[in-house]
Each structure stands twice: as C-alpha cells, then as structure tokens.
C-alpha cells in the first residue's frame, strides 16, 4: 500500500488520478480499466471535496492504493462531514432530458466502475473512510 496526502482541492485531482493510475498500470490493468479506476477515484475525491469539506477550506484527503490478491484497493480518508454514498438514490437513466437528475452521477459511476465500494464513518473520531476495490480480469 502506498499512501499520500493531498489538500482537499480540485486542482489536485490530476495528481490523485496519476497516483492510482500509475499503480494500476504497474500491476497489469489494461488501459480501459486504468481509466475506470482513475475516474472512480476522481468521482470519490470530488464528492469528498465538495460535500465532506463543504464548509472547510483546509481539509486534507488521505489516499492509499495497493495491489494484493489480484485486486487493486483504493482508500480515501477524510475528516469532514460524514457523507454516505449509499444514501444517495441512483439516477434514473431512462429519464428524458428535462427529467434527468444531475445528482448522484458520480457515485453511480464509482459503483459501476469498481467491483466494491464500502463506506465507513466514525463521527466520534471525525473520520470517514471510503474503500473501493477492483479485481483484475
């Protein structure tokens, strides 16, 4: 597992994507899967920056990534407001243009692109952990 910390700001999404992309590539994931892992991580990080740290300007994102047992694991830890992705309803993909809801798209993509998405919140410790796993095919 490699770990790194970033300020919770959108300008660091490039580096966040590079960090997980490099590890995925080094461990033999194909280009489509690498893109998917980067996209899922981007969506997760963006949600944390936008929601968990909505009222905090100097929040920190702890990112860990590693390959073990044929799968890549991406872990994001934040110390902001608890935000449980499972509480967000799935977007209606059949809705027409005027009815299509914009919210929930990021989480939906995370769930589609990764094999597992787990969320664990410890309000007492002010710590939220998002774990995503993708198995190599």
């Amino acid at each position: 597992m490699q770990s790194v910390q970033y300020p919770a700001k959108f300008e660091f999404l490039d580096e966040i994507r590079d960090f997980v992309g490099d590890i995925a590539r080094q461990n033999g994931f194909g280009s489509k899967e690498v893109y998917g892992i980067q996209l899922a991580t981007d969506e997760a990080a963006s949600n944390i920056i936008e929601h968990a740290y909505e009222h905090i300007s100097d929040g920190v994102l702890e990112l860990s990534c590693g390959f073990k047992g044929g799968a890549i694991t991406v872990i994001l830890v934040d110390h902001g407001e608890p935000f449980d992705p499972s509480e967000i309803p799935m977007p209606d993909l059949k809705a027409d243009l005027s009815d299509r809801k914009i919210g929930g798209l990021g989480i939906f993509l995370m769930r589609k692109l990764m094999d597992e998405v787990h969320y664990d919140s410890q309000p007492g410790k002010n710590s939220n952990t998002l774990t995503m796993i993708k198995r190599k095919r």
């Binding site: 959108f10 489509k32 996209l39 993509l109």
Partner: protein, 111 residues
C-alpha cells in the same frame, strides 16, 4: 485544458482539449454559457483532443443541452468522442441525450 470556439454559418464549434474534471469543468460550462448568451444554441463540441472527462463535464454538457433544446432553439452535438469517454457516457446513460458524429465537420454540416 484549453477551449477554443469557432463560428460557422449555422452553428458554433467548441473545441475542448485536455482534461475536464471538477477543477476545469467550470471553464467548459462558461464557454457553453457564453455561446448561449450570444444567441448561439446550435453547438458542436469537438472532443478530438479530449483526454479525460468526469461527471463534472457531463453535467456541464447536460445543462447546455437543456438550454439549447429549450423552445427548440437548437441542440448540442458531440464530435470525435474518444473511446474511453464514450464508454463513460454510455455508463452514465448520456449517449441517448446527445447525437454523436465521428468527424467535427460532419457535425457542423448536420445543422
């Protein structure tokens, strides 16, 4: 990320190069808004130089499409959509909301 706008007789072409994510999507949204504010509702988004797009970009495109199609003023079409971005648009259920063209000039010609 770099955005350029080219005016054609019947539409504007917005060329997006680089990566669109939560940091850069506002610039895309702004370019599309500017076209609308200038009375241009028929828009081609040329994605030939686009390397990456997250849901932040999709949202900007969706908002622009709603605006363009309101009162039947026009529409937003996509050109030269890279494979990875096409796959993500399909996953997000967006491909049915936008016409796509392999070639930007074919897209311009369709207006």
């Amino acid at each position: 990320m770099e955005i350029t706008v080219q005016e054609f007789k019947h539409c504007d072409m917005v060329t997006v190069k680089g990566r669109v994510d939560s940091a850069t999507a506002p610039q895309l949204a702004h370019a599309l808004d500017s076209a609308h504010n200038g009375g241009k509702y028929k828009l081609v988004v040329d994605m030939s130089g686009l390397e990456y797009m997250s849901s932040a970009g999709f949202r900007a495109l969706l908002a622009a499409q709603r605006n363009s199609k309101r009162y039947n003023r026009g529409e937003v079409v996509l050109a030269s959509v890279p494979d990875r971005i096409r796959e993500a648009l399909e996953l997000a259920g967006f491909t049915e909301l936008f016409k796509t063209f392999d070639d930007p000039l074919l897209a311009v010609g369709h207006f």
